[in-house]
Amino acid sequence: MQPFKTHSGVAVPLNRVNIDTDAIIPKQFLRKIEKIGFGKHLFHEWRYSDYEGTKENPDFILNQDPYRKATVLLARDNFGCGSSREHAPWALGDFGFKLIIAPSFADIFYNNCVKNGILLAQLKSEEVDAIFAYVEKNKGAAISADLPSQTVTAGGKTYSFQIDAFNKECLLKGLDGIGWTMQFEDKIATYEDKIKDQHPWLSRR
């Protein structure tokens, strides 16, 4: 995983609440066994006017300049709700998004993004309103994020966000979570011995 320290890029506003992972990447594109190549199907239903995805819908904001090159996504409440499909962050990342800002995110989606080096900055509703107003007025304006100081900067204003210390470390170092956990292998083994004794019915076969 690529480490995330700071990022600055064009921000695209998606002014809808409850954008679900079915909208981010519809089911017909989940029938793959690789993690790559999902970006072209991102927001398929909104982005294309035909099922095959050959005709762009000119009304959809990602089909307009300067947003084709957006790397920051500005969204509303409950972004990433619904299905646990990690294909959603794979599609967002493959399109080029590095940073998503919203007042709230769905839990599973949040974890999935951390595992893919995408930073989710949860700001207060009124702060997100202010950033929406700024980017709608200043089309193509860049927004930046600085993970070490846990801040987002837009239009000369700086906003702070909270992040779990462990998630922060994983993002900063581009950590492989499994490698981290394997340091505690002895603890896992001790737990397994204990549970075999206490809850023998859990040892199925």
């Binding site: 609440v17 066994i33 646990s84 599973i108």
Partner: protein, 467 residues
């Protein structure tokens, strides 16, 4: 101070307590399916890792299996590739697989409980957001992404920050025709689709205690639609009776030992929850969604709301978008909404009790002209049991299609899909745009109400039926 059921299970599974925010918890049961696992197994191989506990891992094929045929040759190439890949992975790593042709194959959240794999006090994960279903047994069960699937395969643990707890008490007696599906839709309508974000919800109260295991699973299943990763219900005699004698259930001395432990799980008096909500069962009517989010829901005797009358600007915009997509006008009576298709099935409502309840409505009647109705049992076992009871005959005699087990039109990954503009009465869990097929329009409701909509050709109030 007393402990909540969640706290007990959480503490019993801590491998490493939180240093900062994130703990390492042990996973007792890992359920796997064909769509969210191939990349996880591939990464294991790439990094020369293995499955730590194949005996705690169980796989099935459900998301993109055909429900029309058991002939794998007739399945599309991409779906087949995922199914073949899962079969290869299970062979290589020694994981038990209920494959396409297995008699007990079915939806992962139906077969777990049915096989006796799901037990109280367990931690259960699956690369699927409806894993919360298993919480109905008093387990901590939640959905994870593919990276986390890989993590659990390799280490049998997960890095998790401790969620907050919410208690929802539903006391009283449900009215005639009101089901557990209506309870959960009502709750989502009350707290909103993000109301449960960051929480594990425990459902309690006399109305919950009176429910069967199937009905409890329906409620926990849709916790994710309220934003909660997990929902749980304290185990009791109804739970123990459901589990006893199932294939993987504890036997003999282990059974007694297990039950003794399970009895210690329920939340204690005085246990502190971060949020508590009280609901009167009598206030709940049969519920139907009108929009494109499960929170856009009202009672069957209600009307489609007017976005202009909504106070909150975001709600207003979102209701406008939803009504445009659903092709509905404000003020339309729910009872005047006509349907083209009916889907009875899914991990929410594809169990034997759901099929029995729907069959009772359908018996001796006929599907309305122009309506296509399908029944998709949740598993091979559910299907077999239904056939034994003659339910298949009741459905087919009435003009329903009777299918093989799978996720089917709940998410339309196979060829069971709505066409653009079609309107569906569905016993499933999500009414998102395009969920059941691009341009398709979904109204969520109980399987009984969906069955009734098939007969009437429009949404109908089950309470108007005699008996």
């Amino acid at each position: 101070m007393g402990k909540t059921m969640f706290e007990k299970i959480w503490q019993d599974h801590l491998v490493r307590d939180s240093q900062g925010d994130t703990s390492l918890i042990y996973i007792d049961l890992h359920l796997v399916h064909e769509v969210t696992s191939p990349q996880a197994f591939a990464a294991l191989r790439e990094n020369k890792r293995t499955v730590r506990c194949p005996e705690k891992t169980v796989a099935t094929m459900d998301h993109n299996v055909s429900t029309r045929t058991k002939d794998i040759e007739k399945v599309d190439t991409n779906s087949r590739l995922q199914m073949d890949t899962l079969a290869q992975n299970c062979r290589q790593f020694g994981v038990l697989l209920y494959d396409f042709e297995h008699k007990d194959q079915g939806i992962v959240h139906v077969i777990g409980p049915e096989q006796g794999l799901t037990l109280p006090g367990m931690t259960i994960v699956c690369g699927d957001s409806h894993t919360a279903t298993h919480g109905a047994f008093g387990s901590l069960a939640f959905g994870i992404g593919t990276s986390e699937v890989e993590h659990v395969l390799a280490t049998q643990t997960l890095q998790q920050s401790q969620p907050k707890t919410m208690l929802i008490n539903i006391d009283g007696k449900l009215g005639q025709g009101v089901t557990s599906k209506d309870i959960i839709l009502y709750i989502i309508g009350q707290i909103g689709t993000a109301g449960g974000t960051g929480y594990v919800i425990e459902y309690a109260g006399s109305a919950i205690r009176a429910l069967s295991m199937e009905a409890r699973m329906t409620i926990c299943n849709m916790s994710i639609e309220a934003g909660a990763r997990a929902g749980m219900i304290a185990p009791d005699e109804i739970t123990f009776n459901y589990i006893k004698g199932r294939d993987f259930a504890p036997k003999d001395a282990n059974w007694d030992k297990a039950v003794a432990y399970w009895k210690t799980l329920p939340s204690e008096t005085g246990a502190k929850f971060d949020r508590t909500l009280d609901i009167k069962a009598e206030d709940i009517k049969p519920m139907v969604t009108w929009g494109t989010s499960p929170g856009q829901v009202t009672s069957v005797d209600g009307i489609v709301p007017d976005p202009d009358a909504m106070k909150d600007a975001v709600d207003r915009t979102s209701a406008r978008n939803a009504l445009a997509y659903m092709d509905l006008k404000p003020g339309t009576r729910i009872l005047d909404i006509k349907v083209d298709k009916v889907f009875i099935g899914s991990c929410t409502n594809g169990r034997i009790e759901d099929l029995r309840a729907a069959a009772l409505i359908v018996k001796g009647k006929w599907v309305a002209n122009g309506v296509t109705a399908i029944v998709v049992p949740g598993s091979g076992r559910v299907r077999l049991q239904a056939v034994k009871e003659g339910l298949d005959k009741i459905f087919t005699d009435a003009g329903f299609e009777w299918r093989f087990a799978g996720c089917s039109m709940c998410l339309g990954m196979n060829d069971d899909q709505l066409k653009k503009g079609e309107r569906c009465a569905s016993s499933s869990n999500r009414n998102f745009e395009g969920r059941q097929g691009p341009g398709g329009r979904t109204h969520l409701m109980s399987p009984q109400m969906a069955a009734l909509a098939a007969l009437e050709g429009k949404i109908t109030d089950i309470r108007t039926l005699k008996n």
